[in-house]
């Protein structure tokens, strides 16, 4: 159920991007989410209409690309596919691996409508409270 909190964070970021680009509306939001991010894309999609109501993102299409789970083996020095609860090397089975993909929780891009011409892409404002 933390997907609603994550969805609200998403709306805040999207609103900030829209505002800094002078856009009136957001029509599409592209996300990369890996299974090890701890966020269920379906639950996020369910939470989205509630979280986005009355914001610039209301009615936007939420487009989630699932990221594959990939690990890199320190001994083989090779990358392989893995399962979320078996992050071992696909070649030698060693568990001493590094995750190369699978924990993404990334706002890739947003499609803005009526944006002011060609502003530079920018990250949302950083939180500066003390």
């Amino acid at each position: 159920m933390h997907e609603l909190a994550i969805c609200q964070a998403l709306i805040d970021q999207v609103t900030s991007v829209a505002r800094s680009n002078g856009a009136r509306k957001v029509s599409e939001i592209l996300l990369d989410i890996g299974p090890l991010a701890g966020v269920e894309p379906d639950l996020l999609a369910n939470a989205f209409p509630v979280a986005s109501a009355g914001t610039v993102a209301e009615g936007a299409v939420l487009n989630v690309t699932p990221a594959p789970v990939r690990v890199w083996c320190r001994s083989c020095e090779l990358e392989s596919d893995a399962k979320v609860n078996r992050l071992v090397c696909g070649q030698c089975g060693d568990w001493r691996t590094e995750l190369r993909s699978g924990d993404e929780l990334l706002l890739r891009s947003v499609v803005l409508e009526d944006a002011k011409s060609d502003p530079p892409a920018r990250r949302p404002e950083e939180n500066e409270n003390v």
């Binding site: 964070a9 680009n21 701890g38 966020v39 568990w95 691996t97 890739r108 499609v111 892409a121």
Partner: protein, 249 residues
Amino acid sequence: MCDTCGCNVTPGNRDLAEGRQATQVLGNLLQVNDNQASHNRVHFNGHGVLSVNLMSSPGAGKTALLEATAELLEDGLRIGVIEGDLETENDADRIRACGVPVVQICTGTACHLDAHMVHDALHQLDLDTLDVLFVENVGNLVCPASFDLGQHRNVALLSTPEGDDKPAKYPVMFRSADLVLLTKRDLAPYMPEFDAAKAANYVRQLGNAAPILELSSKSGDGMEGWTSWLKRGVAELRDNLGLPATTGA
């Protein structure tokens, strides 16, 4: 190509032509939380306080561990606690009874603590009087794992009655752990089906090399491994920050 007949509109630029614009962001979805978490870490570092995020399912023994820890560290490290629960001050009362400074966060219906809640709470504590600040997260093996609080270390508790396969069932949580504590080991004689070696293997299958300690807050068995891990953590932090070591480390 011209703007008159529309021949400059291709499938690739149709969105732009219709007043749409794809803006690349490439930012973490939890960036605002993560910024706040970094800010919290600056507070902890500024005071040389090791912050430890305790996570487990409800009833795995987080509060009992803190009570036992407070007793053991009486002459050593000075500890403080931020308690996270949906409701009640019960856990804070238990910690307070041990003479440890504590702030209770009641999250209402929220299933996890976030960096903002911890920030509000840490300002109610005098960090200068602490060596370790524990954040006892909401009992939940799912949601807390996704939120950075600004902690230096994540500790996941797995209690004997829960079963040894929890790391395989909740990989996000156990992958993030810097230390795994197998708790309530005094119950081991009654629950031989809990295989500590199996639990450890499930943690390793997540590519996690974190130390795994067995202990019982009730009997005190195995507690010295935990307290020395804490003392080492404080010493390492202070060494990295160029601060003098604490008397307890």
